[in-house]
């Protein structure tokens, strides 16, 4: 009952804050801006490279396609003259291609003022090799169109997983796994730190002793942890709502294209219309079964909430304990909280291995060990995880959560009323062992 009063205060005092509304709205926007921004910058920030080609082979002249960042032009001037222009910075690079034997491997030189990285060389290699191939085919007397249709990629591979023979989609699973792992990482640090600073505030404000004369320290600690958890859930719920609304707004556009194939054809890109049909099919299957390309989004979301809560509770208790150890200064806080954040950072490292090979030993261990399991298991779930491992992971996380909470409660109870002196790890150890 009293814990409920504390939860209520912790929840309302956070949700009512202007900063809560701002972060809730801003974070997804920031995320989108970040994603779009980086990809935009990645294409835009590359400098335009002007490559002058001296083609004596007659093979490539006027046939190289310029890209956004690599522009080709041709010159009949002597290489010496062009080199002088190059060193005077008139263009970026100079390629000299003499007549050469099509049947022998060749290496051509690219002259430049600075090291240009892989872009120019690989672009040239691809295009010139393609031209050489076309020329060889022409010389062999094969029809070019026939060759094209004969050499088109026809074969791809599909994972079929387990006895149920479910279609596995590695790309989507990777994206969802990575995204949920990172989200958990951010949430655990964000909300954990929120619990920590709040405990620190109560301690340094000296309100703690007044409160614990009415309720048990454990109630105060749990009230705070649960209150912040509810704030987190509220935030996630608002984001899901945000997503749904965006989806609802976007839906008519997708189905609009579907209903009107004329219009789709008018776009003349057959592939794109095909893409839309595929997209529509995906949406329909998703609506019916909650599954997207073999990844069950609904189940994944439920697991996400479970690992979010489990991981958060596990770490929040530890963060609360750390908060209670701090005396005035922020430095103590940093020192202690580093110890807690380390396993969270390790989780991210293990997660990247887990995504490459979801069933490797490290991935399996990481997804069962409670300090790393929230992030690592979350990254594996979209790939499908054996039930036994899931069960182990759930049990270990629940056990770990109970253990850290009991541990934290012991530290918190004493720490929150300790003023004036620096607390050593040795003392903390004594508090944990002590019965009363």
């Amino acid at each position: 009952m009293k814990t409920a009063i504390i939860i209520q205060r912790e929840y309302l005092s956070r949700v009512k804050k202007r900063s809560f509304i701002i972060t809730t709205l801003l974070l997804p926007l920031l995320f989108i801006v970040f994603m779009v921004g980086t990809s935009y910058l990645a294409t835009k920030s590359t400098r335009e490279k002007n490559v002058v080609v001296v083609d004596q082979s007659g093979l490539v002249k006027d046939k190289l396609k310029s890209t956004n960042s690599v522009k080709y032009s041709y010159s009949d001037l002597s290489v010496e003259q062009l080199k002088e222009q190059l060193y005077a910075d008139s263009f970026t690079a100079l390629v000299y291609m003499p007549k050469f034997d099509l049947d022998k491997p060749q290496t051509f030189e690219i002259f430049s003022n600075e090291n240009l990285g892989t872009e120019v060389a690989s672009n040239l290699r691809n295009q010139v090799n393609e031209l050489v191939r076309a020329e060889r085919i022409r010389l062999a007397g094969i029809d070019e169109d026939k060759y094209k249709s004969a050499s088109a990629d026809m074969v791809s591979f599909q994972y079929i997983v387990g006895k149920e023979e479910k279609k596995g989609n590695t790309d989507l699973a990777t994206v969802i796994g990575m995204a949920s792992g990172f989200l958990l990482y951010i949430f655990m640090l964000l909300y954990g730190a929120s619990v920590m600073t709040s405990v620190m505030e109560e301690k340094t404000n000296r309100i703690a002793e007044i409160i614990v004369s009415s309720v048990k320290p454990f109630q105060l600690m749990m009230g705070k942890i649960v209150g912040v958890a509810l704030v987190g859930l509220t935030q996630v719920a608002l984001w899901v709502l945000f997503l749904v609304i965006v989806g609802m707004v976007a839906m008519p556009f997708i189905s609009g294209m579907q209903v009107d194939p004329e219009q789709a054809k008018a776009l003349s890109e057959q592939a794109m219309a095909g893409g839309n049909n595929e997209a529509m099919q995906l949406v329909t299957t998703f609506m019916q079964t909650g599954t997207l390309e073999g990844v069950n989004l609904i189940t994944t979301f439920c697991w996400f909430i479970f690992y979010f809560l489990g991981g958060y509770f596990l770490y929040a208790a530890l963060f609360a304990a750390v908060g209670s150890l701090v005396n005035e200064g922020q430095q103590d806080a940093q020192q202690f909280s580093t110890i807690i954040t380390l396993p969270i950072i390790f989780s991210i490292i293990i997660m990247s291995t887990a995504i490459k090979d979801p069933n490797s030993g490290l991935a399996v261990f990481g997804s069962i060990f409670p300090l790393t399991s929230p992030i690592v298991m979350m990254a594996r779930i979209p790939f499908g995880v054996p039930t036994f491992q899931l069960l182990m992971s759930v049990l270990c996380l629940a056990g770990g959560f109970v253990l850290t909470t009991l541990l934290a409660a012991k530290i918190y109870r004493t720490g929150i009323l300790m003023y004036g002196k620096k607390i050593t790890m040795k003392e903390v150890g004594k508090w944990i062992i002590r019965k009363n």
Binding site: I6, E209, I210, V212, S214
Partner: protein
Amino acid sequence: MQDQVLLSVQHLKKAYGAHKAVDDISFDIKKGSIFGLLGPNGAGKSTLLRMITGIFHPDSGTISLEGQPFDGLKHTDLIGYMPEERGLYKKMKVGEHILYLAKLKGLDKQTATEKAKYWVERLQMSTWWNKKVEDLSKGMSQKLQFVATVIHEPKLLILDEPFSGLDPVNANVIKEEIFRLAQQGTTIIFSTHRMEQVEEICNQIVLVNLGKKLLDGTVDGVKQQFKEHIFTVSTTDVVKQLPDYVKIIESNEYSVRFQTADPDAPNRVLTQLIAQGNHIHSFHEHLPSLNDIFIRLVGTSPTARPFSAA
């Protein structure tokens, strides 16, 4: 005043590692009395109070409230505790804060609101209701803390240095409230190292130092116990001579201060002075102040250790 015991503390012990913060302390507090818990900083007062409020568990010994063994769940709502180091949530509003603390003491929303309004009015704080706590002066937050401590009408009110930081006017307001509550039957534990306040307020005192109880009794009783049988007699004429069985400490033309262990001596001195034809102007015994007793008992011991839980 009833003679019923409200709080009984028996052989209470609490150690932090090798450091004995409270070392076998026992006392009883009568219902409706104002009980002074005295001691220098670090004597173990805070630890003692934290055990009585249920914040700490004693290592051994018993605490009973109204004859029943102390039970945190049942009894915390009967106690109002204002610790020495006290703070508030800075971002909350005054009214909100009072209600929150009242609800934590088990009051429902409606009762809490009624009581809060009553106390806020009583201490002339009505205009602060919607102010943020961070905008209050130190004295104002002290008053707010006092209200939050008494709002649930505790049977046992524990005030640790309640006047620190208060100006004389507000200190007086709080003092009057303490007296009024005591008259209404609230038992009050008043912890301090300011002796003049204790003499003024308390009926009963306990003096602790280095975790041990040094002294227990009523203010008058303690003074009697520590009196040094020093008397001053002043006369309208020059004092000619005193009997040689008293020890003269100080004398001037019209008054003499003397010490004697003989209970009959004062009477005999007076008789002799009167017989000598002196006109007695005044005659009184010097009782030591609590401050003197405090310094005499504590001053000689090694300085009190700062509170630590190592």
